[in-house]
């Protein structure tokens, strides 16, 4: 089982409630390995008079028992269980905020719309002339020699197709939206084929984050829900792969720069 990874961050991190920075720090810790990454704020950088212990506890993966707190709005209204603390040695003295109850998160001056990035993960979108064909049932639903291959650390390759290389009759926009800090907001489509609706099988990023600009407007399919993926005519033997967090932890080969006072 991968261990908790705790990295001092040099980024200024702010958590805003009703426009007030309840946490504002340049000495955050980035905590990796316990679900989605999160920031821990030194107590000194938290507006403690707006935090009230609730007496409740919860259990968190790799951390154990945590003590829950309410955040108080300006008029005293509580946001229930919006903050937590722990006696876990490496996080003692820090305050953590739940993601959703905070109105706005900032990394430096950039809005952080989703939980933070893992600094040991990258996303490379690379153009490829390898032929990619996707089969659903007995139909080839996408066929391209100019897809963008998206390599995201720990995840199977995703293939992003130009709209012209997808059977146009099968896509029907759905209402689903999901967010990813590495790519942006995904808009989903159902695939309607021979009377069967495959809900949210396809997604696209109309306006991806700048680092992923090259997938804008392209369409990806959920590999694991297809019947076959052919690359240059050869079927992939596995459509989906489990994430390998162990590899990420083992790859922790960076030596943090030494600092001279």
């Amino acid at each position: 089982m991968p261990d908790l990874m705790i990295e001092p961050s040099r980024r200024r991190i702010r958590a805003l409630v009703q426009g007030h920075a309840i946490g504002d720090t340049t000495h955050a810790l980035l905590v990796l390995g316990a679900g989605l990454p999160f920031y821990a704020f030194p107590m000194a950088d938290v507006t403690l008079e707006r935090i009230r212990a609730s007496g409740r506890t919860a259990t968190r993966k790799l951390i154990g028992t945590v003590h829950l707190h309410d955040i108080l709005e300006a008029d005293g209204q509580p946001r229930i269980d919006a903050a937590w603390t722990t006696r876990q040695a490496r996080l003692a003295g820090y305050c953590m905020f739940a993601w959703a109850p905070i109105d706005r998160w900032l990394e430096e001056d950039d809005h952080l719309p989703y939980p933070p990035r893992d600094i040991y993960k990258r996303v490379d979108a690379v153009p490829s002339s390898r032929r990619v064909q996707l089969r659903l049932g007995d139909r080839i639903v996408a066929d391209s020699r100019r897809a963008m291959f998206l390599f995201e650390t720990g995840i199977k390759t995703r293939y992003y197709f130009p709209p012209d290389d997808i059977d146009p009759a099968i896509l029907r926009p759905s209402a689903l939206r999901t967010g990813c800090i590495y790519k942006g907001e995904a808009h989903y489509h159902d695939v309607v084929l021979d009377g069967t609706v495959h809900e949210n099988l396809v997604w696209t990023y109309p306006d991806p984050v700048p680092e992923c600009g090259s997938i804008a407007g392209l369409f990806a399919f959920a590999n694991e829900r297809l019947d076959e993926i052919l690359i240059d005519g050869v079927a992939l033997d596995r459509l989906a792969d489990p994430l390998s967090n162990a590899a990420i932890a083992a790859a922790h080969v960076y030596v943090r720069p030494r600092l001279v006072a």
């Binding site: 090259s214 922790h252 001279v260």
Partner: protein, 257 residues
């Protein structure tokens, strides 16, 4: 012993030399021993008919092997290929693979994109964030940059770099330089010298006129070596001077012409 990762890569890799494709594989592995990873090619995906054997060598971590040269037409890439016929006990799979000295060959491609300098490490990211924190750069007691609208570049394993808009830099002090370097995560960097009184501080400033697609936010912004300026102050407070892989090559100075 230091852990080494030898993980499969999903990327098609190609290596070119003198117009020939020397290796073309969809079954590469990435060896991650240091922050700079190395692609390994299955022997069967390498044009071994173009290789001639060279000297044996021993690597303290990976085992014993042999170097090979590539001969294509009138050109020879001496010792540009390495193989491990007696890999270390914990890395037996190395035996079936060959790797290339990056600069020994002409071109590298990941899928259809040419890549430069070295393989990208999948466990390293580069985040560029806009910041209104006050950044001041001091060299020889002179404030050479003063900004509240820098882009802070956080690159895993390196100190924060501050990319500053030209209007916030004393650009009348900049002098052209021919230096060009390439970073696989950011693109091709160009440099400036900086002149203070009669002294030229060589290549102390760099910028990316046309960064790669993954790093568009730093286009045209100017960065200074944290390691070699007197101080970078953030909100009035001097950042500690970092010691990095670059520290052993300090910037040089010479009298201005």
């Amino acid at each position: 012993m230091r852990p080494v990762i030898f993980e499969p890569s999903a990327r098609r890799l190609r290596v070119m030399f003198n117009g020939e494709t020397i290796a073309d594989t969809t079954a590469a592995r990435l060896l991650i021993e240091t922050p700079v990873p190395v692609y390994y090619f299955p022997v069967g995906d390498v044009r071994t008919d173009l290789l001639v054997p060279g000297a044996p060598f021993e690597d303290p971590r990976k085992g014993r092997g042999r170097r090979w040269s590539i001969m294509v037409g009138d050109r020879v890439a001496h010792d540009a290929v390495l193989g491990f016929d007696h890999p270390a006990a914990d890395l037996p799979e190395l035996g079936g693979y060959l790797c290339f000295v990056w600069e020994g060959v002409d071109h590298w491609f990941e899928e259809d994109e040419e890549i430069f300098r070295h393989a990208r490490n999948p466990y390293k990211r580069v985040d560029a964030l806009r910041s209104s924190r006050h950044v001041e750069v001091l060299l020889q007691g002179t404030t050479v940059a003063d900004s509240r609208s820098a882009v802070f570049l956080f690159e895993t394993g390196l100190p924060t770099r501050y990319y500053i808009p030209i209007e916030d830099v004393r650009c009348e002090l900049l002098r052209p330089s021919d230096r060009v370097t390439v970073c696989p995560y950011k693109g091709t960097a160009r440099y400036y010298h900086l002149q203070l009184d009669a002294t030229l501080y060589e290549n102390v400033v760099w910028y990316y006129p046309d960064p790669i697609a993954q790093c568009p936010q730093i286009r045209g912004l100017l960065a200074f070596w944290n390691e070699f300026v007197d101080a970078i102050r953030i909100e009035g407070e001097a950042e500690p001077i970092p010691v990095t892989e670059f520290s052993h090559r300090p910037i040089t100075t010479r009298p201005a012409a």
